[in-house]
């Protein structure tokens, strides 16, 4: 009787599951997700630290998988073998009332301990390995300081001092040398954040009043996705960043370019700025974007980044000059630094070379004129609660607007920001 209802149940569930799954198949979903080869994969790794962590994970997987197979087979066997199959069976005399066997127990405990030892030894090794740059390579390690704020990252290069200004500072895109260990000091300006570039290394938290550090190394030059991994308030989900690893030569070139003050675009042709407000409009509450780099595209993300380093072709100097003026007038300078130009603020990311980044707003938006305009138009919709809105556009105490940007202003500002290569 149980059997009958049981099989009936199974049949029903089977059909049900099929019905449920069909929209999924129809939607043409990528059913290869189990390959786990996304931009933030912890499996498809690109550096020694992440590799040691993944290999340890594989060991834990193997050991537990073997145990699972054994235990599960015994469990399944017991369940089917000792099932009461008939009504009579179920009401038969109870089986012998045995109470256990100490030898079996001790054997199983010993087995479990043994399995754990197999996991424990590589674990200990990896703990010491991932803790700090290996002694032999210490001298070669490159030092960077990363400071998180709600909801963006500041990167400082203490070795690259700029006269009278302090260390080289960038935001949201960390450029590091490839093939060389990098030691990153992790700091935070407000709450707890966590620094995570899955392909290069597991995360380490950025905790107030605590001097954490992480080390990582990229095997090859590349473009890596990172994300804040500790819940840090409203926009935690969109607190992202990128790491760009360059070979020694490119890295040196990049450093010297970055140390330059902001670019000034000379006015070639005089003429009134042609303001055009023709950017796409966005729905309220529409976060994020769909970038063009999917695996298999013709341009790799790194190539894309490299192209971004060159000045745009059709720059409009008048518009840019107008933008530069607005940058001052609209008090952007209070929060942002554009070294060599007017800004001195440190509340927001350093924008000296913002045009040379591939993303803005902490890895959230692609750095295109469209997206820049969108950011300037609605910083709060793109990134709820961020300080550029609360504090920049509106005064959080009074709730009054500090200033407004017209579409013309935005066009000019976008032109200016895009020119900052």
């Amino acid at each position: 009787m149980y059997l009958k209802s049981f099989s009936r149940t199974l049949a029903r569930i089977g059909t049900r599951a099929l019905v449920m799954a069909s929209p999924l198949l129809l939607a043409g979903c990528d059913l290869n997700f189990w390959r786990m080869d996304g931009h933030q994969s912890t499996i498809d790794v690109a550096g020694p630290v992440a590799r040691s962590q993944r290999d340890l994970f594989y060991i834990t997987c193997d050991v537990t998988f073997v145990i699972f197979i054994i235990v599960a087979s015994v469990l399944a066997y017991a369940t089917f073998k000792f099932r009461a199959r008939t009504e009579a069976d179920a009401h038969a005399e109870p089986p012998p009332q045995g109470h256990g066997n100490p030898l079996v127990e001790i054997g199983l405990i010993a087995g479990s301990v043994f399995a754990l030892v197999i996991i424990a030894i590589p674990t200990l090794k990896a703990i010491w390995y991932t803790y700090d740059v290996p002694e032999a390579e210490k001298a070669n390690a490159y030092e960077v300081t990363a400071t998180a704020s709600q909801w963006w990252f500041k990167f400082e290069y203490p070795k690259e001092q700029i006269n009278g200004v302090g260390p080289l500072t960038t935001g949201n895109e960390l450029v590091i040398p490839a093939g060389r260990p990098v030691r990153i000091q992790l700091r935070t300006a407000d709450v707890i954040h966590s620094f995570w570039v899955p392909k290069l290394a597991g995360k380490v938290d950025m905790i107030p009043n605590r001097g954490n550090a992480i080390w990582m190394e990229a095997d090859q030059p590349g473009y890596f996705w990172g994300q804040c991994a500790e819940y840090c308030g409203d926009s935690h989900a969109v607190m992202r960043f990128r790491v760009i690893a360059l070979n020694e030569k490119d890295f040196a070139a990049w450093l010297s370019a970055q140390k330059e003050p902001a670019r000034v675009v000379a006015a070639v042709a005089a003429g009134s700025p042609q303001a055009k407000a023709q950017f796409a409009s966005y729905k309220i509450n529409e976060y994020g974007f769909t970038p063009k780099w999917d695996p298999g595209a013709s341009v790799t993300p790194l190539e894309n980044w490299q192209q971004q380093q060159f000045p745009n072709k059709d720059e409009n100097p008048a518009l840019i000059a107008q933008g530069r003026k607005l940058f001052q007038e609209k008090t952007c300078i209070g929060c942002h630094t554009v070294r060599g130009h007017e800004g001195v603020g440190i509340t927001g990311p350093n924008l000296t070379h913002v045009g040379a980044r591939t993303t803005i707003a902490a890895g959230l938006l692609e750095n295109t004129p469209d997206q820049l305009a969108r950011w300037l138009r609605h910083p709060n919709q793109v990134k709820p609660g961020n300080k550029m809105y609360n504090g920049g556009y509106i005064d959080p105490k009074t709730g009054k607007a500090n200033f407004t940007l017209t579409e013309e202003d935005i066009t000019a500002l976008v032109a200016y920001l895009s020119s900052l290569k």
Binding site: Q185, R187, N209, R210, G211, N212, A213
Partner: protein
């Protein structure tokens, strides 16, 4: 039941003695406290004094729980019960102090200089100066 027998032998004599035990114990505790207060000003090695203070406190502690709180006369189970909490609490406090005394836990605001923050710092003994 065995308890009746137990009751009579643990009964009256003990009860009468307790008054004196309690008074004497209180005197003893007062003296120990006095010794402790004097001890901190003695010019001995730090570890010796800390050790002495901790020992004396434990002695006081034990006297109070076993006499004033009757653990001595009660079923052993009460002692077990209390010690489960006491041991776990002591262990947890100890572990927390250990964790916080390694160099990695040094807060950034701590006064000692050592410029590279996460560098190895000497472990500091709890609350000892």
């Amino acid at each position: 039941m065995s308890s009746s027998a137990h009751a009579s032998d643990a009964g009256p004599e003990h009860v009468d003695n307790k008054f004196e035990i309690f008074v004497q114990l209180a005197m003893l505790l007062a003296v120990i406290t006095g010794v402790e207060i004097v001890m901190v000003y003695l010019p001995f090695m730090k570890w010796l004094i800390v050790g002495g203070l901790v020992t004396l406190s434990i002695v006081k502690f034990m006297f109070v729980i076993f006499y004033f709180m009757h653990l001595r006369w009660d079923k052993a189970f009460c002692t077990i019960m209390f010690f489960i909490g006491l041991v776990l609490a002591t262990g947890t406090v100890w572990a927390l102090l250990q964790i916080f005394s390694v160099g990695d836990s040094r807060p950034l605001t701590a006064p000692e200089p050592t410029p590279p923050p996460a560098a190895v710092a000497p472990a500091v003994a709890p609350a000892a100066h």
